[in-house]
């Protein structure tokens, strides 16, 4: 398949993506985490050999662009749920759940990794942290998917919606730290300062963009400024060997805070999310390599199971500490296992930055978490909300995977 063929395929997928979700409402086509595109990529890539890895690497700049753009969108809408500012306690709860999940996973993987592979301590920590970071998020798409499809309304639905909007901060910052602690030989910045520079770059370019967007919102000019600033931030991040995720997320948050046009910018950019996400997921699927090292599938399995346990523990903690979750069943933590765009973006970022075992294992773990999360997360969330009496008039539309 030629580069033109790949490009056509990716553009067609982007086209399809914009029809699946229009503006900010989830219309209900496809799975909640869009993991089917990862599976499609896996089938077209490693299984059938139609999408070849070498040819896909031609599009590495586009992959960086997709990762960065998705992070920018997350940053622009960070701390807002349906355009309403997230409450502080929901934000704290979301951050703590993410930290707990991340911490538990790092510990488990750090402890179990020597049973599978021999690595020096630095590589062992990078691998454990990378896999844990990719398995931390609960995708807000899945929560919104259930809430909107089943017309859920109530304190728990609101809490979960807000928590999943806020918790993205933890894996994104952790990702920057891991990248900063692993400088390449040609990295232009010392290990300690790289993460700060990456964040500073995002904040600086974000402030610059907000200042340039000015008082009057001009549509075409705003597109040019936002796109130009994003490309610049992604390019400089790649140049400094830092993940575009962090700089672009920081840039998005900065614009969101400092520009008076936040809602217009969010409205302007929202339709591009699926258009970028679906090709990125397909590329991620096609880049999966489970056979490069026999440890990769084992690490991914351990990560996915560890994630289940960590989220169950988080659910128990919430049930005990958060009033909105008191009436939920003990296994409400399973409602939080859906993963999606951010997990796969982190997987891709590690895959590009750490080729070999670490990159393959992180990407495979992210894919595994997304796949398993799709089968468990939405039904568990629906059941939890139903148990708490927060489901409205449920439609007859079947759940992902044919469940009803």
């Amino acid at each position: 398949m030629t580069s033109l063929g790949y490009l056509l395929g990716l553009l067609l997928l982007a086209y399809l993506g914009t029809f699946l979700v229009g503006n900010r409402a989830i219309r209900g086509f496809g799975l909640s985490s869009s993991v089917e595109y990862v599976v499609l990529g896996f089938l077209l890539g490693p299984v059938l050999g139609i999408l070849q890895r070498d040819a896909l690497s031609t599009f590495d700049p586009l992959t960086h662009l997709a990762i960065g753009w998705l992070a920018l969108l997350v940053g622009l809408d960070y701390g807002h749920n349906n355009n309403i500012r997230v409450r502080l306690r929901s934000g704290l709860a979301g951050t703590l759940v993410a930290l707990l999940t991340l911490g538990l996973l790092v510990l488990v993987l750090w402890w179990l990794l020597p049973l599978q592979v021999k690595l020096d301590p630095a590589q062992r920590l990078t691998l454990a942290a990378g896999v844990a970071i990719a398995c931390t998020e609960t995708t807000h798409h899945a929560v919104r998917w259930v809430v909107e499809r089943y017309k859920a309304q109530g304190p728990l639905a609101r809490l979960l919606g807000e928590m999943t909007d806020v918790e993205d901060l933890v894996p994104i910052v952790a990702c920057a730290l891991v990248f900063a602690l692993n400088p390449t030989q040609d990295a232009p910045l010392p290990a300690g300062t790289a993460a700060l520079v990456s964040l500073g770059l995002g904040v600086g370019i974000g402030l610059l963009t907000a200042a340039l967007l000015g008082r009057e919102f001009r549509l075409d000019e705003s597109w040019r400024l936002l796109l130009g600033a994003s490309l610049l931030a992604i390019g400089l991040s790649v140049q400094t060997r830092m993940p575009p995720l962090t700089a672009l997320f920081a840039m998005g948050v900065t614009i969101s805070i400092s520009s008076q046009h936040r809602s217009e910018i969010v409205q302007m950019t929202a339709p591009s999310e699926r258009a970028v996400l679906l090709p990125a997921l397909l590329v991620a699927g096609a880049r999966l390599d489970l056979s490069s090292n026999s440890a990769v599938p084992v690490i991914a399995l351990v990560a996915v199971l560890g994630r289940l346990v960590a989220k169950l523990l988080c659910g128990l903690a919430m049930k005990g500490l958060v009033p909105e979750a008191r009436s939920a069943r003990p296994w409400m933590g399973l409602s939080l296992v859906s993963a999606g765009g951010l997990a796969m973006s982190i997987g891709l970022a590690f895959h590009l930055r750490f080729p070999g075992l670490i990159g393959d294992a992180v990407l495979a773990s992210a894919a595994g978490a997304s796949l398993l999360g799709e089968f468990i997360g939405p039904p568990a969330l629906r059941s939890t909300l139903a148990h708490c009496g927060e489901l409205g008039n449920a439609t007859e539309t079947p759940l992902p995977g044919g469940r009803s």
Partner: protein
């Protein structure tokens, strides 16, 4: 492109100037060598946009600001954008040219074309019949100033001069359309310039091929005159019109039945279909020009189509012209400037004279008669494409000929838009309406 500079406060300009300076520093500090493609694209898009706005009070076209930004940031001056990145950016060209051709076709309304047909036919004929030989004569006489020409026999030199003349009557659809898009100019001069330059593209393509067939035996006596190439050209042009018509009808049908995500459809057209047609030896510019013309004139989707093309163009044109600026070979221009200036200057003078003559013959609108010549100086991608064909056809001196062509185009590229903007301003055709300030309609923003 914004045309609303008048609405900005001094504070806004101060912020933009400070931002531009900060941007330069930031890029200089972090971008070692400037060979990072994404960083270079982002820098040029941002800096070009800012420079365009900063140039507004000086009444200079945005296009000139983009070229100057690219030139300053490019590998020969500040080096913020490296050689490698500039080469990699050529992928923007096909998208930009596709958009230019689509918009150019869609801007040509049948009624306007009917009005202008006599004028543009006579003008095209005069530029080809009179202009090209006169420019060829100047090239022939400038022999002592052109090192490689001194090695050629008189007959070979005549062949090369004729080819130079054929190349020199090409214009820049890109610059014309970008400027009309920025200024939102409407009126007799804008209509005439657009119709003339878009149609001259097809005329020059045919003329250049004919001259190439005739000049080849003059330059290389071992080659015999062959009409086969002319036959192939005929097939290519007819095929391009047929494919363009089909593409236009499909586009109009899509817009009527679906109508969403035109930006993505245009990306597919600009990257994938453009390259495929090029591979199949169709005249891509003509194909897309016909497609745009069909959408505008054989359906009621013209205004919506133009709007979609202009929205994507607002980003792509900045990249296209800033990268063109970065691509300008300053050391080469420094070496060849006397002869390049002579050739560029004589071309401008000849084009102006022919424009005046043509206007007198067909009794053009007074504004066209007075300022029509200002649209004829710009040259860019199309001319460079023709020069590259010459380089491949005549490897013995083609490299030197190409260098001379690039140096001449560099001058025309910088001066042409300034002249045309001046012409439009003087003719009172530039618009002062501000850019829309509403957010993107649903589904259109990607």
């Amino acid at each position: 492109m914004s045309a609303s500079g008048g609405h900005r406060s001094q504070l806004s300009y101060g912020v933009m100037a400070a931002a531009l300076a900060l941007l330069l520093v930031l890029t200089k500090v972090f971008s070692s060598g400037g060979d990072n493609l994404l960083g270079a694209l982002g820098f040029l898009l941002l800096a070009g946009t800012l420079a365009g706005e900063l140039f507004e009070p000086l009444k200079l076209p945005h296009l000139t600001a983009y070229l100057i930004t690219g030139l300053i940031a490019g590998p020969h001056l500040l080096g913020l954008v490296g050689h490698h990145a500039v080469e990699e950016m050529t992928f923007v060209n096909s998208l930009a040219l596709a958009l230019i051709a689509l918009a150019g076709g869609a801007e040509l309304k049948i009624e306007v074309l009917r009005q202008e047909l006599r004028s543009i036919s006579v003008a095209n004929a005069l530029h080809i019949v009179l202009g090209a030989p006169l420019i060829a004569l100047v090239f022939y006489l400038a022999r002592p100033m052109i090192p490689f020409a001194q090695q050629l026999t008189p007959m070979a030199l005549l062949g090369v001069a004729l080819l130079w003349g054929a190349t020199a009557v090409s214009r820049s659809p890109a610059a014309t359309l970008a400027l009309l898009s920025q200024t939102r100019a409407k009126g007799p001069l804008a209509n005439n310039a657009l119709a003339f330059i878009m149609l001259s593209d097809a005329a020059v393509a045919v003329f250049f091929s004919v001259v190439l067939v005739l000049a080849r035996p003059m330059i290389d006596p071992s080659v015999e005159l062959s009409l086969k190439e002319l036959g192939e050209l005929g097939h290519e042009l007819l095929g391009s019109v047929a494919v363009g018509t089909t593409m236009g009808l499909l586009l109009a049908g899509y817009m009527r039945l679906v109508g969403a995500q035109m930006q993505l459809v245009l990306l597919v057209l600009g990257f994938v279909i453009w390259e495929t047609l090029r591979y199949l030896h169709f005249d891509t510019l003509l194909t897309f020009l016909v497609a745009g013309f069909v959408v505008q004139n054989l359906s009621n989707q013209g205004p919506a189509f133009l709007h979609a093309v202009e929205r994507l163009s607002s980003v792509v044109f900045v990249l296209f012209f800033t990268s063109a600026g970065a691509h300008l070979d300053l050391p080469l221009l420094g070496k060849m400037w006397p002869v390049a200036l002579l050739l560029a200057g004589s071309r401008a003078v000849i084009a102006t004279g022919i424009s005046k003559l043509s206007s007198r013959l067909v009794n053009d609108h007074p504004m066209v008669a007075r300022w029509g010549w200002t649209s004829l100086v710009s040259q860019a991608g199309l001319t460079l494409g023709l020069v590259i064909i010459l380089e491949r056809a005549f490897p013995a001196f083609g490299g030197d000929l190409r260098s001379l062509g690039v140096a001449t185009v560099a001058i025309n590229e910088m001066v042409g838009p300034l002249l045309f903007k001046m012409g439009l301003d003087r003719a009172g055709e530039t618009s002062h309406e501000p850019e829309p300030t509403r957010p993107a309609p649903e589904g259109e923003a990607s």
